[in-house]
C-alpha cells in the first residue's frame, strides 16, 4: 500500500549528539595493554581474555586490504575501541538513563517493540543497555540476550560457536573485532520453535572518535524459524568513527532465518563489517539490507550452503551521496548438491557518490544440480556519480544453472518531463523514480523500516535540484 506518501522527517533525529557522558572510555589506539584493559573492564572469563590476545596477534600480522575503497583516513591510534555508557544492562525501559532513553525514543525504539516485535535489544556505544523478550518465548526455550550475559550463562553454547563461523584470520578487521569486541546480541531458537514476530536489535554509536564492535551470534536449531532485524545509526562528527561488527548465523537443517538490516551510519563512519551464515540441509537464509550511511562501507554477507537443498536469497540496496563510497555485495558458496542462491542487488548514487557491487558466487564440484541467479541494477542520478559492478563467479561443475544480469542506468529527461506534466516537481519526480527503483527491496522490509527507507530516500534527494 501507499508508501509513496510519507511524512517529512528531520535528519536531525539521527544527528542529535548526546553529551559524551561515558562511565569509562579506553584510551585511543590498539595495544596489548588496551586489549587487556578491555578484557578486565568486561570481566571476561579467562578463555575470552586469551582469545582476545590471540586475535590481537593476528591483527598485527595481517595487512590492510589492498583492494576496494581507500582506508588511509582510518588511523587506529585515533580510535577508542571501548566506551562503556553510564548504565548497566536493563530489562525495563524505565530503568534506562534519561539521556540514553531519549536518544532511542527519538529513533522509535522501543515503540517498535509494542507494535510488532517479539523482543528488542538496544546497544549504546560499547554495551547493550536494554534487552527484553516476550515471556512465552522464554518458556519455549528461546534465548535473546546480550553477548556478555550469554558468555556467563550459556558458556558452552557460546564457546562452541563464537568466531568459528567467521574465524579471526578472515581479514584484518575481523581480527580487530576479535580483540576488542563488545556488546551485540545472542539468539538461540530451539528445535522446531517458530517465532511469529521478529526480534530487533538497535545499535547506536554516540561517542566521537570511537569504534563499535558488537558481536551477533544467532543459532537457529533444526526446523526452527526466526526473523531478526538490526538497525544502526550515529550522529555525525568531523573525525572518523569505526564500526567493525561481526555477525555469525548458524542455521541448521530445515530451519529458516531472515536477517534484515537498515544501516544509517553517519557520514564520518568507516563501516567494515563482516557477516556470515552457515546453512544446513534444506534450510534457508534470506538477507535483506538497506545501506544508506557511512563514509566508506565494505560489507559482503556470505552464505555458505553446506547442506543439500540449502537456499539463500540476498536482497540489498545501497544509496551513496556526496563523499560516500559504498562497496557492498554478497558472497555465496555452494558446497552441497541442489543448493540455490538468488541475488537482487540495487544501488543508487548521486552528487558524486560511489557504489560498487562486489560479489562472489562459488559453486564447488560437489554442488551438482545447484542454481544461482544474480541481478544487479544501478541508478546514477547525475553525471558525477559512479557505479561499478565487480562480480566474480567461480563455477566448478557443469551441472548448474547460472545467470548473471547487470544494468546501469540514469534517470531519463523524458521520464522526468512525463511526471512533471502530472504536477510533480522535478525533485518529486526524481524521488518517485528512486522510490520505485528501490521498491523491490523496500517491500521486503518490515513496514516501519520500509517507511524509514522511503524517508531516507526523500531526505537524500532534498535539495538535489540546483
Amino acid at each position: 500500500m501507499a508508501k509513496t506518501q510519507v511524512e517529512e522527517i528531520n535528519r536531525n533525529v539521527y544527528d542529535i549528539v548526546d553529551k559524551d557522558n561515558y562511565d569509562f572510555k579506553i584510551e585511543k589506539g590498539i595495544t596489548k595493554e588496551i586489549v587487556e584493559e578491555i578484557s578486565k573492564q568486561k570481566n571476561d572469563p579467562e578463555w575470552m581474555r586469551e582469545f582476545r590476545l590471540k586475535a590481537l596477534e593476528v591483527y598485527n600480522k595481517l595487512e590492510m586490504p589492498t583492494w576496494g575503497p581507500d582506508l588511509s583516513e582510518l588511523n587506529m591510534d585515533e580510535i577508542a575501541t571501548y566506551v562503556r555508557p553510564k548504565t548497566k544492562l536493563n530489562n525495563s525501559w524505565d530503568d534506562v538513563p534519561e539521556d540514553i532513553k531519549n536518544t532511542f525514543d527519538r529513533l522509535g525504539i522501543p515503540e517498535a517493540e509494542k507494535k510488532s516485535l517479539a523482543g528488542v535489544g538496544a546497544q549504546y556505544d560499547s554495551e547493550v543497555v536494554y534487552h527484553s523478550m516476550k515471556e512465552d518465548l522464554k518458556k519455549q526455550g528461546v534465548i535473546y540476550t546480550d553477548m556478555e550475559t550469554a558468555i556467563r550463562e550459556y558458556p558452552d553454547l557460546v564457546k562452541q560457536y563464537f568466531m568459528k563461523c567467521v574465524p579471526v584470520n578472515d581479514h584484518k578487521f575481523v581480527a580487530l573485532h576479535g580483540a576488542v569486541w563488545s556488546g551485540g546480541s545472542f539468539v538461540y531458537v530451539p528445535k522446531n520453535v517458530k517465532l511469529d514476530f521478529p526480534l530487533q536489535s538497535y545499535f547506536r554509536l554516540n561517542s566521537p572518535e570511537s569504534g563499535q564492535f558488537e558481536h551477533t551470534l544467532i543459532i537457529v536449531e533444526e526446523g526452527a524459524s526466526l526473523h531478526f532485524i538490526e538497525g544502526c545509526s550515529a550522529p555525525k562528527y568531523s573525525k572518523i568513527n569505526l564500526h567493525a561488527g561481526c555477525v555469525e548465523l548458524i542455521v541448521k537443517d530445515n530451519a529458516y532465518l531472515r536477517y534484515s538490516t537498515i544501516e544509517n551510519w553517519s557520514k564520518n563512519m568507516m563501516n567494515l563489517n563482516t557477516k556470515k551464515a552457515m546453512i544446513g540441509k534444506n534450510a534457508q537464509v534470506d538477507w535483506v539490507t538497506g545501506s544508506f550511511g557511512s563514509k566508506i562501507s565494505m560489507l559482503y554477507p556470505l552464505s555458505q550452503l553446506n547442506g543439500e537443498g540449502a537456499k539463500t536469497e540476498y536482497t540489498g540496496i545501497s544509496f551513496a551521496g556526496e563523499g560516500q563510497n559504498l562497496d557492498t555485495g554478497f558472497k555465496a558458496i555452494h558446497n552441497a548438491p541442489n543448493t540455490s542462491s538468488v541475488v537482487n542487488a540495487k544501488s543508487i548514487s548521486k552528487n558524486g557518490g560511489k557504489c560498487t557491487y562486489r560479489s562472489l558466487i562459488k559453486i564447488s564440484p560437489k554442488a551438482k544440480g545447484s542454481k544461482s541467479s544474480v541481478s544487479c541494477e544501478s541508478l546514477m542520478l547525475d553525471d558525477i556519480s559512479v557505479s561499478d559492478t565487480i562480480p566474480v563467479n567461480d563455477i566448478q561443475t557443469d551441472e548448474v544453472e547460472f545467470s548473471h544480469e547487470a544494468k546501469i542506468g540514469k534517470i531519463s529527461d523524458k521520464t522526468i518531463f512525463y511526471l512533471m506534466s502530472r504536477g510533480l516537481s522535478e525533485e518529486d519526480a526524481k524521488a518517485m523514480i528512486v522510490r520505485g527503483f528501490a521498491y523491490p527491496i523496500s517491500k521486503e522490509l518490515p513496514v516501519e523500516y520500509a517507511v524509514e527507507m522511503n524517508n531516507l530516500i526523500n531526505l537524500e534527494l532534498e535539495g538535489t535540484i540546483g
Partner: protein, 246 residues
Amino acid sequence: MSNTLIELKDLHVNAGEKEILKGINLKINKGEIHVIMGPNGSGKTTTANAILNNPEYTKTAGQVIYEGENINDLKPDEIARKGVFMSFQLPEEIPGISVTNFLKYAKNKITGEPVKIFQFKDELKKYMEELNMNPKNMDRSLNVGFSGGEKKKNEILQMLVLNPKLAILDETDSGLDVDAIRTVSKGIEMFKNENNAVLIITHNNKILHNLKVDYVHVLVDGKVVTTGTQELATEIENNGYSKYKK
C-alpha cells in the same frame, strides 16, 4: 470574464537548432474541442510539448497565454497544476510505482489537497470500468508491461482522475484498434464539459467519427495553413494533405 482558455500567439519553437514551429496562432475557448491535423513532421507534437514547456524545446518567439497569463517560462509541473494535461504518444514506464499510488500522488500535487483514499479508489474503479480496463492494472507498476492500447487508456484514465481544464491528447488514437478508439472517444465525452477544453492531435480521422468537434486546424511545416469545422477533417481523410503542401 473572458471565455478564452488558451491562446498561442505567433509561437516559434526550436527543437535543438532546428525551427519546428514557425509562428502558430491558435485560440481555444472553454467548452470547445479542437483538432490539429497534419502530416508527419509538421510540428503537432512540438505544439503540445511547447504548451507544457518541455525543456527539450525552446521558444524563440511568441507567447502561450493561458487564462490571461503568459506561461512561456513556467515549469511543466507549474503548468500542470494550473490545469493543463497532456496525454503522451509514448507514455513513460515507472517501475515500482503502482497506477493507484502514482495517481493518488499526482492528484494530491494537482489539487493541493489530501486525497481521500476510499473515495479515490472507488472513482478509479468506476473510470476503469468505463474504459474497459482490467482493474488489476491498478496495482501494477505504471505502464510497465502494458500493451500499447493499455498505455493509451491509462493516459485517458489519468486525464479523468486529474480533471484538467485543458486536455491535450497527442496521437492518443494512433496504433489503436477500432474498439480502443471508441473507448478513448468515450473517455473524452465523459471528461468534456462547458468549463474545459480538449485539443486533439491526430493524423487520422477515426477518433473524430465518434466526437463532436468544433474546430479543425491543419498544420503544415510549422504553421496553421487552414482552419475549418468537422468537414475539413473529412475532406482531408478523402484527399490527404497535398493540397496544403507547398
